[in-house]
Amino acid sequence: MAVPVLPNSSNFLGVALVINRSRDGPRFVFHYPPHIPAVDARPSSRGTDSDDLDDDDALMDRISNPAAGASSGSLPKGVDLANWNHDDHLETESGSQIVPWEHVGGFPTRDLESILTPPRAYDKKLFSVSLDQLCVASYPICVPENGVWKKKKRQPKSRPSLSTRAGGGDDGIGTSRNGDSPVLAANIPQIETHDMADEPLGQEAIDGPEDGTNPEEKKSGMTMFNLVFILNPNKHETKELVDTVYFHIIRKIIKAYKYAQQRSDFVWKESKRILQLKDKGREDKTRLSVLWRQILETSSLASSMQDIYEAVRANKIAALQLETPEGTVTHSVQIPVPFHLPDIPAADDVEAEGLRGLWVTTANNFADLDMATIDDLSFLDKTFALLLLYDEKKIISELQADGDDATNAMIEFVRLSKPTTSFHSIGQGPSLSPAQVRKYAQHFIFWRRAIAIPPLHARDVYIMSPNSKTSTLPLASQTWAKAFPLAPPLPNFLAELSTAPRPYKFFAPSKNHRPQYLQMLAWLMRGGWVTQLCTFAYVVVWPEIQYEVDYQIEADEIKNAKNPSATDDSASSPEAPTSQGSSFNGSDFGDADEEADRERASSAAQGSFASKSRPSSPASKADEDESLILSPSASAAPTDPLERSVSSLPPLPEARNPNESIAEAARLTRLADRRSRAHAEHAAQHARKRAPAATDHPSQNLEAAHLAHLAPYIILDAKKATGKESMYLSAIGRRFKDARVRASWPVFWKYFNGHSALERVCLMEDLKRKEAWALLTAMSEHLITVRHW
């Protein structure tokens, strides 16, 4: 499967802030980390890209490098650049000063600042420039056309994304359903929520100083600011990386910056402060490291850039804190990461290494469910539980750190959430509503504090995950030993789980140990060491059943043909197929079936006799409507009455030539004749067939002469079965001797689609596990099963 391209320390080099000023032009304000090396100097970038190195490029290097050295003017000669530590200031022979922070990514900042302040056309749009390997992406923000940053409307409502927490738009489960994302939660792209560390912004926004000054005076010296992300992607991943960072990080961070700028001219004021410090540092020849420490301490803008860099590089949640004069603006951004995989990645794929250790499961794969089911959220509630990824206490203290009205309910939710308890059962409790449960679960999952898993149960089977990250085994063993000092060592426990799949309860030495063992299981789930081994089923139609259904269809056809009026007077006819069908239900199946079959067979054999005895001969109908003669229902009628009827046809209103009508009549007679003969043959053939006989085990009955040519048939999705397949299903249903099994069969067959784990049937149907399994076992003869995660 495709591995998502995420920023990491090798492809994400840094962030930089560039501004443009109305009078003084562009200025490179700040960048982090302090030293962003030139890409070409990085050995890895060239070494790994083997396709870079060929004759063509060698030629280009030869041509371009001397030229670049001469023309770029980036670094004057005469300085020992090779031994430069990029921290001190250097003095060239000509007396000019080389300032360590004035080179970013190998380029002088004064060149970068001009190229990174694009024209207004790029305002609030993706701006992406690449310079050889270096790729720069950003979302420039320009001052509004009137030159005033300040927003006239000061309603926090205008930006709901910054003032809500865990609420509002993040009806996550619903969102994920409507979108085509098959993932439960992690992939919901656009949830504008806040980290738990978030503070409500409403009050600051409201009680900000109301300065009704003239907008002209407020005209800022800054016309644009541009927070650029400096990337060094692998060539073939460029687009994906830029898109990911742009979509999840850049656009969202800029929102917070823009908000702070509009409120209190934050970006411009901070920029001025940083630039002053830099100018002073330039004069004093302050070391880069010293100056940067100073800037980071004084400017929350600079330190927010540091936070962004550190968090995005490690693909964590970046929490911004902008200390504006009007209060702290906080915002959190992240690139959502999947917490599970539907299938194992390729064994030796280097890029897939990032996916190692992820929980591998198909439980979150809803792609195959139809939308009708998906609209009903309760099925998710029943089959999922919350598995906290961190210690409960840690999460609760995080929540308590910034109390608001939802905090108590969320803490309650954390307390109630156990990996063994489904959302449904939490929602049934007194303290939380199902909607709350869903909302908070969504919140915790999105902010990576928890994942949703099918509730753990000691009767379910868990195996060592084929995607477990064994390279972490040494450390994990230690952690495990600390967490569960009395448990068997981790390698032994995993070995036991991996050897032969068994219900988990067998691993616990006694029933008293179960709770502890379930905690161990939760630990293993969290680390992606284990996964549930599930059973998936399809319905198999054994030849015997097929034969029975086919036979019945044939019999019905013949009967209908013989007895065209059956549909009209089905109520009076004891043999009408509908009444037959209903007579099966509830009666003793085996016998009734056979009887009916025999009856049908015999009636088919004596076809002509039976129909002759019928009073409602087609002739009378044919009198009424000529076209009926052509209908198949009439054609089975014996020839005599038909001939009679045809000859006795009254002349048609538009008096036809008598010869013509005679010829027409003769033609019809011939047709009917032929048809009836065919039917008689068909009936005779049918009569020769062996009547279906039900055995106790249709799966064993494969060799009988009349079944040998039939292969077992698999119904892929019993819920969507139509036509013959649904007849097969009801025929199978009639075979169950136990009334409970018979009753559950139509209820259960919707799970026999190869995608619904049988382990979860009990949760969906609110049955006891034992009961559900007993029923499923009773049905097992007609199921083919396969076991995977």
Partner: protein
């Protein structure tokens, strides 16, 4: 090496919209478009007065002729609407003969933003370099429109480049009598995954038929031994090629998607279904029928006999490890060899779809191939005489229906050493393999037992197996690298100088 690299080209990329060479001379203060194709795509042109420009030149000109620092670099920028991207390589040629002692030009491409830039990057670089050289030698660009020497105008060169690249993915530009530029768009293939000694390469095409004497010599030696049964290390030995060279050569075949890498087949091995087994049950795209054609013994093709013969060619005497992994397949094929007298007399026997589905779905974690065969044989279904089990499993693995459950051995003591940093984990890219018969030599010259030295705990002495006991090295690897059978490994592990219960074996 890399002989076939030029042979597998086909162009499927999105097309570039236009070609834009921009030329600015320093005496003209403004950057200006000298030639464009189609006319009017960048700036208004008399040739196409109504053409709507694709991009706003005023906005992007700073990125076409940027500041000095960005000369002689591959520079791209997207348009504000993010529909197009401009790929360029601004070149500056300093020389006194120019008015401002410098001549700057850029041959750029406008491509749709969502197309793959990688093939075009080379092209842009090539154009820049060639014309820079021609300008340096004869002032080719700077004399344009000044001298009328009857040569092709740049505008028509661009036309050729654009049309040919869009239509054929390659172009040949006759610049003048002496010079022609040939360019081709090369599709990007991601770097192939590493080839391990215990992988089994399976050819996707008849390599023996397409190989010719111009191919790389190593490949020529290797190809006869790539039969879907031999593992990489064995191929190296059979072909008398060193293992690293074999791995590199196979990586080339992998790069062009001409081979697949599978695991070694053992009857003691274990396979388990993956979710895509649903496709098999559903017989999506005739998967089951394809499988039937591949595995049913009735239709045994000549390729199998090749596999069988090369399997039996193996000199199992001096290479124990090798014999273990070939013997089972020999068994399968050996059975087949006995069966044809009966089956070939009959019509090829086709196993029913249901039966194949049943077979495929009965693989399970914790059930070895042997047990799986027994399960079906006991149920009255003689698997071995009806299908080629190796091919059946290979089919499942290739199609992603099954995965191999590998066997690992873990020593808790060794884990503790690793956790405390007293031992260094063995990485897979450290080649410590020995090859049967001692053919070829290791890169680092380590003998079988030594391994990467240094920092290892002394508690087990220099036991060659210790470094495999961290749970990251499957038995297949130990078998090939240590030249032992699985049973021998287990036996040897029993002799480990470690406290009882230190070693555990898990499957994953």
């Amino acid at each position: 090496m890399g002989q076939p690299r030029a042979a597998t080209l086909s162009l499927t990329t999105r097309q570039p919209e236009t070609q834009v060479p921009v030329d600015t001379r320093m005496h003209i203060p403004r950057t200006k478009i000298v030639a464009q194709s189609p006319p009017g795509c960048i700036v208004a042109s008399q040739l196409a007065p109504h053409a709507k420009p694709l991009v706003d030149f005023d906005i992007i000109q700073e990125y076409i002729i940027p500041r000095k620092a960005f000369f002689n670099r591959f520079v791209t920028v997207n348009t504000p609407d993010n529909k197009y991207s401009i790929l360029g390589f601004p070149v500056s040629i300093p020389n006194e003969r120019y008015d401002r002692n410098e001549f700057i030009f850029n041959f750029g491409l406008v491509v749709e933003s969502d197309c793959d830039f990688i093939p075009y990057e080379r092209l842009v670089r090539r154009l820049a370099m060639t014309f820079a050289e021609m300008e340096k030698q004869g002032g080719y660009l700077s004399s344009e429109a000044k001298v009328d020497d009857g040569r092709r105008p740049i505008e028509s060169l661009l036309e050729i480049v654009k049309e040919d690249l869009n239509n054929y993915g390659e172009c040949m530009i006759p610049v003048d009598e002496a010079n022609t530029i040939n360019m081709k768009l090369f599709p990007y293939h991601p770097p192939p995954p590493p080839v391990r000694g215990w992988h089994v390469p399976v050819p996707k095409m008849k390599l023996t038929e397409i190989v010719d004497p111009t191919w790389d010599l190593t490949l020529q030696k290797l190809i006869p031994h790539i039969d879907g049964v031999n593992d990489v290390r064995r191929i190296a030995w059979l072909a008398d090629v060193s293992l690293p060279l074999t791995q590199t050569a196979l990586q080339h075949l992998l790069y062009y998607d001409t081979i697949l890498l599978l695991d070694m087949f053992f009857f003691g091995g274990c396979y388990a279904p993956r979710p895509s087994i649903h496709d098999f049950v559903a017989n999506r795209d005739g998967l089951v029928d394809e499988c039937a054609g591949y595995v049913c013994l009735g239709g045994l093709g000549p390729s199998d006999s090749v596999a069988a013969s090369s399997g039996s060619l193996s000199t199992g005497e001096n290479t124990v490890g090798a014999s273990t992994n070939v013997t089972p397949s020999k068994d399968v094929l050996g059975t087949t060899a006995q069966i044809p007298p009966q089956t070939s007399a009959l019509a090829p026997q086709r196993v029913s779809n249901y039966q194949l589905i049943k077979l495929m779905t009965t693989f399970c974690v914790g059930r070895s191939v042997m047990e799986w065969i027994k399960l079906h044989t006991d149920a009255g279904w003689p698997v071995l005489s009806l299908i080629d089990v190796r091919r059946f499993i290979q089919f499942g693995v290739i199609k992603g229906l099954l995965y191999r459950v590998h066997k690992y051995v873990v020593s808790k003591q060794y884990l503790a050493l690793l956790a405390t940093g007293q031992a260094r984990p063995l990485r897979d890219d450290e080649r410590v393999g020995v090859r049967p018969g001692g053919l070829g030599e290791d890169e680092d010259g380590t003998a079988a037992g030594e391994g990467p030295a240094g920092g290892r705990g002394a508690w087990m002495g220099e036991d060659p197996l210790q470094r495999y006991t961290d749970g990251c090295h499957c038995f297949d690897q130990i078998i090939t690298e240590q030249n032992m059978t699985a049973a021998e490994i287990v036996e040897k592990l029993k002799g480990f100088q470690a406290p009882a219960g230190d070693l555990t074996v898990f499957y994953r």
